[in-house]
């Protein structure tokens, strides 16, 4: 038997990476600050810097691949959509070009750029947090802070059900393939095969959640008394605390300076 693995539960869970091993709430704190800065500053250059900074952090915590995979697509989609909408419809003086009834103005482009980069920057914070933090770690901390475990379970299992939906749609696809319905190859095939499964997917998810509730009850999930945890997280170190306080102070100072100045 793998006792090294078993004994790993006797110590706090660490991944030997300074950012990943920060307390989930510290991480949340830092990332929130990163998301708020562009909201306060309202300049596209700052948003871009922040976005680049996300990639840096992702790389430093060896999550670059996972981060980029989700984020690049999301950013391009949301960014270009918002930019085009704004650029086309915001009126202004400085006309750049006219396409049919559309008038594109410098103001529209500026506004579009600013708004698009801002939203993309905020999304980035969410994506970064989700790749750098395990949901179960966050729940563990919340429980330690006194949030009841039935509540954290609801959150965790909702997150889980997104994954489950993914797994279930994979299963249904397999089931379709095994009957002879093309789900591979051409995009049209995939789309055509996907729509009919949406209904059963959600029905399945509902009946699943009922079965899960019974399964959890069998594991004494609703038992009175306090539960314990097999996994534990590193206690927040003094240095982590002080750095965090410093960052927060600088941030508050910055906000005050922006607002007053």
């Amino acid at each position: 038997m793998d006792y090294e693995f078993i004994n790993s539960f006797k110590k706090p869970q660490v991944q030997n990476n300074w950012f990943l091993d920060l307390n989930p709430l510290s991480k949340l704190n830092i990332i929130l600050i990163l998301a708020i800065i562009p909201i306060v500053v309202k300049r596209w250059e700052v948003s871009v810097v922040i976005i680049l900074f996300y990639f840096l952090i992702a790389a430093a915590s060896s999550r670059l691949k996972q981060f980029s995979k989700v984020y690049v697509r999301l950013a391009l989609l949301i960014g270009s959509l918002l930019f085009i909408m704004r650029a086309m419809f915001i009126p202004g003086e400085d006309v750049l070009m006219k396409i049919g009834f559309l008038t594109i103005t410098q103001e529209g482009v500026d506004h579009g750029l600013q708004f698009a980069t801002l939203v993309v920057a905020i999304c980035g914070a969410l994506v970064l947090y989700s790749v750098a933090t395990q949901a179960r770690d966050l729940m563990l901390v919340l429980e330690k802070k006194g949030v009841p475990h039935t509540a954290t379970y609801v959150i965790l299992s909702s997150l889980q059900s997104i994954i489950d939906l993914g797994n279930m749609s994979k299963l249904i696809m397999e089931s379709q393939k095994a009957r002879g319905i093309e789900t591979e190859g051409k995009v049209t095939n995939r789309i055509k095969s996907f729509f009919p499964i949406l209904g059963p997917l959600f029905l399945g998810a509902i009946s699943n959640s009922e079965e899960k509730a019974i399964a959890m009850d069998a594991r004494a999930f609703y038992a009175p008394g306090k539960n314990t945890h097999l996994r534990e997280l590193r206690p927040v170190s003094l240095s982590e605390k002080s750095v965090l306080i410093l960052i927060n102070l600088v941030f508050v100072g910055f906000i005050v300076w922006r607002v007053v100045g």
Binding site: I172, S175, K177, A178, R179, I181, E182, T183, P200
Partner: protein
């Protein structure tokens, strides 16, 4: 060649776990074969290779000469029907009848043909009483028959049943047994994974045995059950009659009750 052929096939799951190693097997059209072996031996993985849900990591799987690597699973499934181990993974319609007809409409068959296929499948599996129920409300062991009916309606030349005997009662086992006989008469090839040794002895002459990712034996039920090495390695047991005969020290590699009684009468 009209057969399912596995040539030096190995398979690893995305998490790196190697589940099948160096499988070599030929199952001819019209044959009836059982696959037995310990939990986790790689049986389900192996049959998923035969219908293209799994594609070999190395080696080749040929269905009537076609290499599964060059075909989509959907194309292969016109030849190989597969009943999943867990029926819940295979069901996605809101009622049993729709579940069975789903594919037949997709294939744009004419209404008489659909009717013929459905009634054949329903009759063979004995699920007449459940056609208008939601498949998830059908009792668990009967749900398996719903998925069997669905696959039967595809009328493929090869049919794979993954643990159809699990949780079945006397009646369910009889239904399965009759089903196997009928499919054989129709010239279909049926491959059945099962842990029910009595069922194997009663219904199969060719038994493929798997253990630790590999095929370790391919022989008659009698020879498999009377080989100590195979039994131990694949965590099987003889049908109880065989065990009794062994403990009585009787010769003749007995696996059936009538054989034992015959011998004791003398």
């Amino acid at each position: 060649m009209e057969a399912i052929e596995l040539k030096n096939v190995s398979f690893a799951y995305p998490d790196g776990h190697v589940a099948n190693e160096e499988l070599n097997l030929i199952i001819q059209k019209g044959e009836r074969v059982a696959i037995v072996g310990q939990n986790g031996a790689g049986k389900t993985t192996a049959v998923k290779l035969m219908n293209g849900l799994n594609k070999p990591t190395s080696g080749d799987v040929l269905i009537n000469g076609m290499n599964t690597k060059t075909q989509t699973t959907a194309q292969i499934s016109a030849y190989v029907g597969y009943v999943f181990q867990n029926p819940d993974d295979q069901i996605f319609n809101s009622n049993v009848q729709k579940e069975i007809e789903y594919m037949l409409h997709y294939l744009k068959l004419n209404p008489q043909e659909i009717k013929r296929r459905v009634s054949r499948a329903v009759e063979m599996t004995g699920i007449e009483g459940y056609l208008h129920m939601n498949p998830f409300d059908v009792p668990y062991s009967t749900r398996k028959f719903v998925t069997i009916a669905m696959v039967l309606a595809l009328e493929t030349p090869y049919i794979i049943l993954d643990e159809p005997t699990a949780g079945q009662d006397l009646h369910g086992i009889k239904t399965l047994s009759n089903l196997l006989d009928r499919l054989q008469d129709e010239g279909k090839c049926v491959i059945t994974i099962t842990h029910d040794m009595e069922f194997v002895a009663d219904n199969f002459t060719r038994v493929v045995t798997m253990a630790n990712k590999r095929i370790i034996a391919d022989d008659s039920a009698r020879n498999i059950f009377w080989s100590k090495e195979i039994i131990t390695e694949a965590r099987l047991k003889k049908p109880q009659i065989g065990e009794i005969s062994e403990e009585l020290g009787l010769d003749g590699n007995i696996i059936f009750r009538h054989e034992l009684v015959e011998l004791l009468k003398r």
